[in-house]
C-alpha cells in the first residue's frame, strides 16, 4: 500500500466537506459498486440552474473520500453547465495530485456528479446530457 497522499488529500479525507445526504434532493447520482471497493453517492439541490447545495456519501478508500469532498466543494454554487464541465483532472489537481492507481477515484466523482445532474434533468423532463467521447473511463 505504497500511498503517499498529499496534505490536501489527507485534509479532505479527515475533514470531509459536504458529507451527508439531502432530503428530497433534486438530483441523486451513484457510481461504483461494492465488489470493486468504492461507491460514491452525490445529492444535489438546484436553485435557478445553480447547485445551491451538494452532499456526498462514500464507501471507499482515502482517495475516494477526498475526491468526493473536493468534487462537491468545486461544484457548489456553480451552474449546472459549469458543474458538468468539472473533469476528474480538475479534482486531481485541486487535491494536489493522486497516486496513479487512485486516479480512478476522481473519475468516480466526475461520473457520480454527471449522474446526479442528469437525474435532475430527467426529473425536470429534460433530455439528459451526453458524456463526452474519449472521456477517461472509470476502470473496474
Amino acid at each position: 500500500m505504497k500511498l503517499d497522499y498529499s496534505n490536501k488529500v489527507m485534509d479532505h479525507f479527515e475533514n470531509p466537506r459536504n458529507q451527508g445526504t439531502i432530503e428530497n434532493a433534486d438530483g441523486i447520482g451513484e457510481e461504483g459498486n461494492p465488489q470493486c471497493g468504492d461507491i460514491m453517492k452525490i445529492y444535489i439541490r438546484v436553485l435557478d440552474n445553480r447547485i445551491s447545495d451538494v452532499k456526498f456519501q462514500t464507501f471507499g478508500c482515502g482517495a475516494a473520500i477526498a475526491s468526493s469532498s473536493m468534487a462537491t466543494e468545486l461544484i457548489k454554487g456553480k451552474t449546472l453547465e459549469e458543474a458538468w464541465e468539472l473533469s476528474n483532472k480538475a479534482v486531481v489537481s485541486a487535491l494536489e495530485g493522486l497516486p496513479p492507481q487512485k486516479v480512478h477515484c476522481s473519475v468516480l466523482a466526475e461520473d457520480a456528479i454527471h449522474k446526479a445532474i442528469n437525474d435532475y434533468r430527467v426529473k425536470q423532463g429534460l433530455i439528459p446530457w451526453e458524456e463526452k467521447a474519449g472521456k477517461e473511463p472509470h476502470h473496474h
Binding site: 471497493g37 478508500c61 473520500i65
Partner: protein, 393 residues
C-alpha cells in the same frame, strides 16, 4: 500526524522491530569483524565461526541438523528457491505441483511462473476458516507429482494448517513436502522431523530479527538446483558472500523467540482473544480465519459497509499501525485472494482489518485499540451509502 500521540504497532505480520540484544550482536560484524567467511585469515575465521554458530541455532530451533540449514536473503528467496530448485532438479520425474489457494505470493506467483515453463499446478481450495484438507492433498497426488508446498500458517488470517498430517501423506507417497513457515517460525512450535517436513522457509524480520535475511531448511533426501549460482558458499548450494551480521542477527532472534515461545504465546493469545472479543462487539463484524487454530498474534476482522484503507488511514491518525486485505491494499485493486478463497463475499471483503500483535504489545495498547476502532468504524459507516439506517448515529 497528531503530536504526542500514543503509537501502537499492530502490524507484526508485516515486519517486527529488531530486539535490542540482536542489534548489539550484529554491530561487531558491521564494524571490526568484517572478514569474508570464505577466506583463510584470522578475521575471516571469526565470521566463519559466527556463521557456523548461527546455523546451529537455527537448526536447533526447528529440530533440524546444522548441515540442513541454508541462509538466504529472506522468506521470498527461500520460497522461490525451494520450489524452483525442486522443480528444475526433478522435472525428469514429473512436472506436477500441489499447493493451496491461500499461499503467499512468494509461493503462488512462483507456481504461476512455473506453469509458464510447462509445469502443472493444483491449487487446493480451503474451507471458510482457510483450512486446507489433508484429504484433498491426498486425492490430488498423481504419479507425476514432485512437490507439495503448503504454508504453515497464513499471513492474513492466521490460520494454522494441518502440516503434520500433510507431511505424513507426502512422506508415505515419497513426495517432497515444502512449507512456507515464514509466519509460524518463532511463534508456534515446529519440529521438521516429527512433522515430516522436507523443506521449510523462514524469514528473519518476522520474529524480531533483521530484514533481508532468511533460511531454507533442506532435508537430506531433497535434490534441488541452486537459485543463486556462483561461489562455493553454503556448501555450494547458495552462492553469494554471506551477510554475516544478518545471519548472526537472524539466528539469535530465532533462538530467543523459541526460548520464550511458550510464555509469549500464552500472553499473546490472551491479548489476541481480548482484542477479538472486543472488536466483535461492533455490529456486523466477522472474524476471518480459524477461531482456534490460529497464530497467537493474529486478529483479522471484517466490518461491513466500510473499506479497509480508509480504516487504516484513520487508525494511523490515531497512532495505530495495522493492515488490511482490501482492494486498495495493492495497486491492482484486487481484493485479497485469501479472503476470497475463504468465501468472504466480494461486497464485504473490502472492509477487513488485520491487527497483528507482538512482543511490544501491552494491555493498554489493546484497551486503546478497542476504544479507537469502534469510533472509526462508526465514523466511516456514517459516511457510507451502504450503511443501513439503524447503524447510523
Amino acid at each position: 500526524m497528531e503530536d504526542n500521540k500514543r503509537i501502537v504497532y499492530m502490524d507484526n505480520a508485516a515486519t517486527t522491530p529488531l530486539r535490542p540484544e540482536v542489534v548489539d550482536a550484529m554491530i561487531p560484524f558491521m564494524t571490526e569483524n568484517f572478514g569474508n567467511p570464505s577466506s583463510l585469515y584470522d578475521i575471516a575465521k571469526i565470521s566463519r565461526e559466527a556463521v557456523a554458530k548461527a546455523r546451529s541455532r537455527v537448526a536447533a530451533a526447528i529440530g533440524a541438523q546444522d548441515k540442513e540449514i541454508y541462509f538466504t536473503s529472506g522468506g521470498t528467496e527461500s520460497d522461490n528457491w525451494a520450489i524452483k530448485g525442486v522443480c528444475f532438479a526433478n522435472c525428469d520425474k514429473g512436472m506436477h505441483i500441489i499447493t493451496s489457494s491461500i499461499e503467499h505470493h512468494a509461493v503462488s506467483y512462483t507456481c504461476e511462473w512455473l506453469e509458464k515453463q510447462g509445469f502443472e499446478v493444483t491449487y487446493l481450495p480451503v474451507d471458510k476458516y482457510g483450512m486446507i484438507s489433508p484429504e484433498d492433498v491426498k486425492s490430488s497426488i498423481r504419479d507425476d507429482t514432485i512437490l507439495i508446498t503448503v504454508m504453515f500458517a497464513n499471513n492474513e488470517i492466521g490460520t494454522i494448517e494441518p502440516i503434520a498430517e500433510i507431511g505424513k501423506i507426502a512422506r508415505e507417497k515419497g513426495i517432497i513436502f515444502h512449507t512456507d513457515a515464514v509466519q509460524a517460525v518463532g511463534h508456534v512450535p515446529i519440529d521438521v522431523e516429527e512433522m515430516n517436513i522436507d523443506m521449510l522457509s523462514l524469514s528473519g524480520h518476522k520474529f524480531n530479527g533483521p530484514k533481508g535475511t532468511g533460511a531454507l531448511y533442506i532435508g537430506k533426501r531433497v535434490k534441488l538446483d541452486p537459485l543463486m549460482h556462483g561461489g562455493d558458499q553454503e556448501r555450494k548450494r547458495r552462492a553469494g558472500t554471506e551477510n554475516v551480521p544478518g545471519i548472526v542477527g537472524l539466528a539469535l532472534a530465532l533462538e530467543l523467540s523459541v526460548a520464550e515461545l511458550k510464555e509469549s504465546s500464552e500472553r499473546l493469545t490472551g491479548l489476541r482473544n481480548r482484542l477479538t472479543e472486543g472488536l466483535l462487539k461492533i455490529p456486523k463484524s466477522h472474524l476471518n480465519g480459524h477461531p482456534e487454530n490460529r497464530l497467537p498474534n493474529n486478529v483479522n476482522v471484517t466490518f461491513e459497509y466500510i473499506e479497509g484503507e480508509s480504516i487504516l488511514l484513520m487508525l494511523n491518525r490515531k497512532g495505530i499501525a495495522a493492515s488490511t486485505g482490501s482492494a486498495c491494499n495493492s495497486s491492482s485493486l484486487e481484493p485479497s485472494h485469501v479472503l476470497t478463497a475463504c468465501g468472504i463475499p466480494a461486497e464485504i471483503v473490502h472492509g477487513s482489518l488485520r491487527l497483528t500483535i507482538g512482543e511490544m504489545t501491552t494491555d493498554e495498547d489493546v484497551d486503546y485499540v478497542l476504544k479507537v476502532v469502534p469510533e472509526i468504524v462508526q465514523k466511516l459507516r456514517n459516511m457510507s451509502p451502504l450503511t443501513p439506517d439503524e447503524l447510523r448515529t
